[in-house]
């Protein structure tokens, strides 16, 4: 059931349209119609109270153009935008590419691969906060595990991962983010690979295609759509990612590793300027709106049922 619906590889849509059935035969009667509406009310209530209302309120809070002028003049904000773009460009793409490779690795047969997969998904099951706090301490310059290991094994003093350099700290954040999220996307792509009919590979093998060719001519074309949707989804989720930055680097050193999600919260609650915070977040809209529209379209109509 699961593997069949992950990617319905270019199945003609006619079949699906034919299977579309009407609801209760003969339409809904009066009292049934009332029930149908009653069943929707809780969700409609939640949606209006906790989605529509905060969105409108947020737009209203951040509607003043002067806020944006102030933001764009702020060097911290400028750095934050660069960080956010790097975080998305490197973090998301590197993670998805690794997930693609690893999903192929986990297709291998053998008793230990299953066990390895069980270990590999652990970061996904562990709550974000304990994991990131642990990584934060691992990277401590004086007492952290990594620098201790560097000293014990090679006799070198490790760098101050989170203390001095913006790029080291940002790199550490991105690596932690990949650590936490890699298993999830690997499992998704693994399910996508499992849905590819084995006969295709057998046929290719008869024709002499192995290894890289097998991947380029069978796996990748069939996974491409799923891969694209996953990357876009992951980009949106990562845009809102707060925990990795907040707990690994805390935005430091000297406010150089903030991303938009964390800067907004800082402006709103540490500087007590909610309007500015909302403006920082809203300035991601030019990136978000095209992503949302593309994804709405893809998830509603495409063959990928993620």
């Amino acid at each position: 059931m699961a593997s069949a619906s992950v990617l319905e590889v270019s199945r003609p849509t006619i079949g699906r349209r034919l299977r579309r059935r009407r609801g209760f035969r003969g339409g809904l009667g009066g009292s049934e119609y009332a029930w149908a509406i009653a069943f929707c009310i809780p969700y409609v209530g939640v949606f209006i109270a906790f989605v529509v209302f905060p969105v409108l309120y947020g737009l209203w809070l951040g509607h003043e153009p002067s806020l944006y002028l102030e933001l764009f003049d702020d060097p911290i904000y400028q750095r934050t935008v660069v960080n956010t773009i790097l975080y998305l460009a490197i973090g998301v793409n590197l993670k998805m590419f690794l997930a693609l490779l690893l999903s192929g690795y986990f297709m291998r047969k053998g008793w230990w691969i299953k066990g390895l997969l069980m270990i590999f998904v652990l970061p996904w099951a562990i709550p974000a906060l304990p994991a990131f706090i642990s990584i934060h301490w691992m990277l401590n310059t004086q007492w952290g595990l990594i620098n201790n290991l560097l000293w014990e094994l090679f006799g070198i003093d490790g760098p101050g991962w989170l203390d001095n350099s913006r790029w080291l700290a940002l790199g550490a954040v991105i690596v932690s983010y990949i650590w936490k999220n890699l298993p999830f996307w690997t499992v998704i792509l693994l399910a996508g690979r499992m849905a590819i009919p084995q006969e295709l590979y057998e046929a290719a093998e008869v024709d002499g295609a192995t290894g890289l060719r097998r991947f380029l001519h069978i796996s990748f074309p069939l996974l491409a759509n799923l891969y694209l949707v996953c990357t876009l989804l992951s980009t949106i989720f990562t845009l809102g990612e707060f925990n990795a930055v907040n707990f690994v680097s805390g935005g430091g050193p000297a406010l150089t590793t903030h991303v938009l999600a964390t800067l907004g919260i800082r402006d709103a609650f540490e500087l007590a300027r909610p309007q500015l915070g909302v403006a920082a977040v809203l300035s991601a809209l030019p990136l978000m709106i095209p992503l949302v529209i593309t994804l709405m379209h893809k998830l509603r109509t495409s063959d990928v049922e993620l």
């Binding site: 059931m1 699961a2 992950v6 609801g23 209760f24 035969r25 049934e32 149908a36 509406i37 069943f39 929707c40 809780p42 969700y43 939640v46 949606f47 989605v51 209302f53 905060p54 309120y57 947020g58 690893l102 690795y105 291998r108 390895l116 069980m118 998904v121 652990l122 970061p123 996904w124 099951a125 562990i126 709550p127 974000a128 906060l129 304990p130 994991a131 706090i133 642990s134 990584i135 934060h136 301490w137 691992m138 007492w143 201790n148 999830f184 499992v187 399910a191 008869v206 989804l233 989720f237 809102g240 925990n243 907004g264 919260i265 609650f269 909302v278 949302v292 709405m296 509603r300 993620l306």
Partner: protein, 293 residues
């Protein structure tokens, strides 16, 4: 020429190559294990250290002891005074998030997917849109809204957020899974005189059980992973949850790392156990509906 002859011609170096590949795969597996377990190892190591050992360059505690866990479980440190209170808060939020997500999600999915209410697609789109809005982007207006309603420091404001962001996923999964249940069952029950609410309880919910488990696990993990809203909305020591207390620890002047890591482990155990119990279902659910990472 048959395939068998090709096999035999290739045989000699084929076997060697397979050995070599197996070794590379094993080495890669080793790298994956080290990469995955390093932060977890660090967590466990620090939790078993005594306060003085933390500030040494040891990579394994010189004399490991479970004392930190004892301190955490008995609340024997001033920062951990309300640990159980906070743990119960986390559980409370987790439970209600799961329950409400399943209830609201299954009701609306039943109405859209089974009764095929007119304009149901609008609701599906609304859910999809919610799914694509990063939760942290709504934090500021949400916080102010809850203050205005007088729900500051109330766990129900957090439950409301978690439910809001877990329901869209529930709606997807339920709709996708619901397609595998024949509508004829509903019709047969209706002809026998069952009301929609009876069909919902007697037919729809029991048949949806696997999807309910998958979504329930997802909602619990979501609530357990979430920090930002809990931090903003709960500031009183008695009403806050474990992650908020943990983060306060981190920002305090002296951070007793062994206690923090022990707290972190105690907090991480339930989701890990539940995750492994329902892993099969979770994965099946995921591949049907996608998840907010």
């Amino acid at each position: 020429m048959s395939a068998a002859t090709i096999e035999t011609r290739r045989a000699p170096n084929y076997r060697l190559r397979r050995w070599w590949r197996e070794i590379v795969a094993l080495l890669l597996g080793l790298v994956i294990v080290v990469w995955t377990l390093a932060p977890i190892y660090n967590m466990v190591m620090v939790a078993f250290e005594s306060h003085n050992d933390i500030f040494t360059s040891a990579i394994w505690p010189p004399d490991p002891s479970a004392y930190s866990f004892w301190v955490v479980l008995t609340g024997g440190y001033w920062y951990l005074e309300y640990f159980w209170h906070q743990y119960v808060n986390s559980l409370y939020i987790g439970f209600w998030t799961v329950f409400l997500t399943l209830t609201i999600g299954s009701m609306v999915s039943y109405s859209i997917g089974r009764m095929r209410i007119r304009y149901g697609w609008l609701l599906t789109n609304a859910a999809l849109l919610t799914y694509l809005v990063p939760a942290s982007f709504l934090a500021i207006p949400f916080y102010r809204m809850m203050q205005a309603y007088g729900l500051g420091n109330n766990v129900w404001s957090v439950i409301a957020v978690e439910v809001t962001f877990a329901t869209p996923y529930a709606i997807f999964i339920f709709q996708q899974y619901g397609r595998s249940i024949p509508l004829e069952l509903d019709e047969a029950a209706r002809i026998d005189g069952a009301s929609p609410i009876q069909v919902y309880f007697r037919i729809y919910l029991p048949l949806m059980a696997p999807a309910l488990v998958a979504v329930g696990t997802y909602a619990l993990l979501l609530a357990w992973n979430e920090y930002l809203y809990q931090f903003l909305l709960l500031s009183d020591k008695r009403s806050m949850t474990v992650p908020v207390a943990l983060a306060q620890f981190l920002n305090s002047d002296e951070s007793p790392w062994n206690y923090m890591m022990a707290t972190a482990i105690v907090y991480a155990v339930p989701p890990v156990v539940i995750y492994y119990l329902f892993r099969g279902r979770m994965t099946a659910g995921l591949t049907m509906g996608g998840v907010k990472g």
